[in-house]
């Protein structure tokens, strides 16, 4: 089901609708005279060389990408790769050194403080790694906070807060204080607060990194569910590739401030652009990411050609049961066009990592 959603939004991305978020040539350079680094030959130096030469650090260097409406776009990288700075540049919690960020066509890097506040109050919201809840407010007042600063009356904002409380599964906790809640529940409050203003875009900065693995998995499912129900555009930062693959329609891999590769999980696993990405995706279970298209091969003369037919965009894991039950190779076709066959041996080889 997740996959259906994923393919639906991926196709809508390609359908030519204007992007929800569009980033063009974004830079964030720390240090003396940061503008001089932007676009200069120095920018191609490695981080330590750049610092030695100019005293500057390029936390984000020349990043461009588009996020389609309704897409979950994941930015993935190790610590220090600049992903947290990047998401803060998108919301201007950190002022970018250069570049443009368009939100529904509006360049927010040029917004006045007044307009920026309006955008923050109504158009996008953010979820933080360490939750950022107000310790002196009850859950309901934390969630109502963005509505409150927008001037909404108390009864009205509490009514709205209660709606989101139900939505994120916090029923019964509205009068608790953050410190009384577990980490997972606190982040539900963070999510609810971000959803309270019904934003077009949700920015999530490593939202589950501070949580235990089991709770993290629950919360990932929760985000997937909310995305399915609400269809919000999301920009999701993580350092955990399996999380990226689980929630992301497309993933951008960052290294030293620059984007190395952008693609669907399948593209990254099947066609890593360099050793860095390849190394990264090596531990991903290929059968969970790749589709039958990847395995399809021409039939050999001694193979049966009358097995069942399966769609090329089917994830191998989901197809595996059918393939292993049929004693004949399955035929893979895309939009009616025959691509090749996949035998049970092919599937087993892929799963065991021999292929």
């Amino acid at each position: 089901m997740v996959e259906e959603q994923r393919s639906a939004s991926a196709s809508s991305a390609s359908a030519g609708r204007p992007p929800a978020v569009s980033v063009r040539g974004l830079w964030k350079v720390y240090g003396p005279n940061p503008l001089s680094i932007v676009g200069s030959p120095d920018a191609t130096l490695s981080r330590s060389e750049l610092r030695a030469k100019t005293g500057c650090t390029a936390a984000v260097s020349d990043v461009s990408f588009d996020v389609a409406p309704g897409e979950v776009f994941v930015v993935m990288g190790l610590s220090g790769s600049g992903k947290s700075t990047l998401i803060r540049c998108l919301t201007r919690l950190v002022e970018p050194t250069a570049g443009e960020v368009f939100l529904d066509g509006e360049d927010i890097s040029k917004a006045t403080p007044q307009r920026l506040r309006e955008l923050r109050r109504q158009h996008f919201s953010m979820v933080f790694q360490h939750f950022g809840l107000l310790p002196h407010r009850k859950v309901i007042d934390n969630i109502a906070y963005p509505l409150e600063i927008n001037g909404m009356k108390k009864a009205e904002r509490h009514a709205r807060a209660n709606e989101v409380i139900e939505l994120v599964g916090l029923h019964g906790y509205s009068h608790a204080f953050p410190e009384q809640l577990s980490g997972g529940m606190q982040q539900r409050v963070g999510l609810a607060r971000a959803l309270a203003v019904d934003p077009q875009v949700l920015f999530l900065d490593e939202p589950f990194s501070a949580l235990d693995p089991l709770i993290r998995r629950d919360m990932q499912q929760e985000v997937i569910r909310l995305h399915r129900e609400l269809g919000k555009t999301m920009v999701f930062i993580t350092h955990d590739l399996s999380e990226a693959v689980k929630v992301g329609d497309r993933i951008a891999i960052m290294r030293d401030g620059a984007v190395v590769q952008i693609g669907t999980p399948e593209e990254l696993v099947a066609l890593p652009i360099d050793d860095y990405v390849a190394n990264f995706v090596r531990d991903i279970a290929k059968s969970h990411v790749l589709t039958l298209k990847y395995l399809a091969r021409p039939a050999q003369s001694d193979e049966d050609m009358d097995g069942p037919e399966l769609a090329a965009n089917m994830i191998i894991r989901d197809a595996a049961e059918i393939i292993l039950q049929t004693h004949k190779p399955v035929r893979v076709s895309e939009n009616g066009k025959f691509l090749g066959i996949v035998s049970s041996e092919d599937v087993l080889r892929l799963i065991s990592g021999v292929a």
Partner: protein, 642 residues
Amino acid sequence: MTHLKKSHLLIGVGLVWITLSRIFQGNQTLELATSENTSFTSSVGDAAASIRGNRTKSAAFIYFFNPIRAAITGFVEIIRSIISVPSGNSIIPVIGWFGVVAIVAFTVYATSRLRTAILAVSLLLACGALGMWQFTMDTLAMTLASVLLSLLVGIPVGIWAGRSDRVLKILTPFLDLAQILPTLVYLAPLALFFLIGTASATIATMVYSIPIAIRITAHAIRNLNQSPIEAALSMGSTPTQTLTKVQLPMAKQMIILGINQTVMAALSFVVIAALIGAPGLGKPVVDALIIRNVGQGFVAGFAVVFVAILLDRSTSAAAKAQESFIPLTSQQIRRGRIKVGLSGLLAIASIFASRSVLSLAVWPGSINISQQVEDVTNHATKWITTNLYIFTVGFKDFISNWVLNPLETLLAFSPWFVTLSAIVFIAAVIGGMRVAMLATGLLTLIVLSGLWHEAMITLTQTIVATLLTMAIGITLGIWVGRSSSAEKVLRPFLDAGQTLPAFVYLIPMLGLFGPTRFTAIATGIVYSIPVVVKIVSEGIRSVPIAMIEAATVAGSTVRQIITKVQLPAAKRSILLATNQGMIFVLAVVVIGGFVGSGGLGYLVILGGSKPEMQGKGLVAGFAILLLGVTIDRIAQASARRT
């Protein structure tokens, strides 16, 4: 210079210094008889006299100083007339003693717990029983007035400094200076502009306590968890919304703690401000010190200690009550409201009773144990000084003969240029070139002031007291830092020691050592040990546990762990503690001018009482400031360079 070890250089400087000192002993010491004025000090005296003479004529006085004085005096007098002095044409204050006790009980009960309220009431009653009711009320009124005014300035400025780097940068030098400045230095210049009396005392107290309020408030705002603040910004909060809805509620506990510190600073200053006419408990303390009546001093001193404990306990309990944001259950809230409501009614009833029943309005004279306390303490001191002679006088003589006198000879009885160069060399070795140049400048100013010899006497006492303080403080600090049971035992004493006004320590020391310079030194030691122990033990405790475990696994003995792991790792804390200790010691040593320590402190005090010495007193105060900055810069630089 790099191939020579610092310690070798220091020993070299010391040897040259001692040799030169021997050769030129007694020459060019710039010694000045106490009653003697230089042309500089007398011209400062003339200037001061002319300022005083212009009080009714000059525009600065008519439009600036005098209105401020009138406003502040008025404000303080209103508070005093409520609890302390007869109000209007009545013979009693607005609220009698019983009403005051009830108000204190109610306030403390409403903001913290019953136990603290009972403690507060007992302490107040004890002050009354010591025959100190009126003085206590004056001290409370002065403290309250100064604290209110200080917070009125300190909290907004602190918030501003907490939010703006530029404001903090501008304020920092002043805040640092305020930390160095010994209390005694504030008094005379303020009295010059605001006359002797409550206004000067209140303003001096404010000058002393506002920096503390600013510092802690700014710190509270700056050290918040930044994550909720970032979240609030990301949701489009305006700066004002972020401040009122996020930062202030989160910083509340820390700010209340800042209020606690401000109150304690104000109290200790109000006591010493008796020297410029502050009403309150400082007055009987000063009187007792002047006539060297230890027993009488103890009576007033006990009252000061009681007020200090009362204020500290009740304000820190209020801060503790803010620790959790989680309120109680609704049933607890309701019960709490009933309790507060009932006790509030009781307090109001008590106030009315204290206005209509004379024995509840004026502290009954029959309840007075001051004579007994005076006798007991006088006997006790006498017993100690006769029977433990060997400890008190023996210790005093030992330190005097073996440390104090040789050092004084070296510092104060060498030619001034020898001592000055030696100090500058030492500053260069341990603090670097910039500090050495600064020290040269500051010390030259002291020479030019004409009070070099007196300054060196004060410096000698400061150094000796600091050495002893560090010897005791580091030992205790290691102990407290390593053992949590030691911490539990000593913590109350350390806390209490830090909150008591330095002035009251003079009383028992005077009893033990008589009116000598050693009394000042001993007071300085006792006063500064708590802060040294606190910093050192925190330094020891913050040594990563992994380092200790690694050393233990490698088979180190306890001694090896202390000397080879904990002390080196805590070196910075120890240097910082030394710096703090020296500043604290200096502040007390100059107050010791009261009990015969001589030096700059005595000149300041003399300047306050003899008009012809006023110029010299003001210059001496300035010299103390220069000395304090010199000590602080050298010590800071050495801490920075490790």
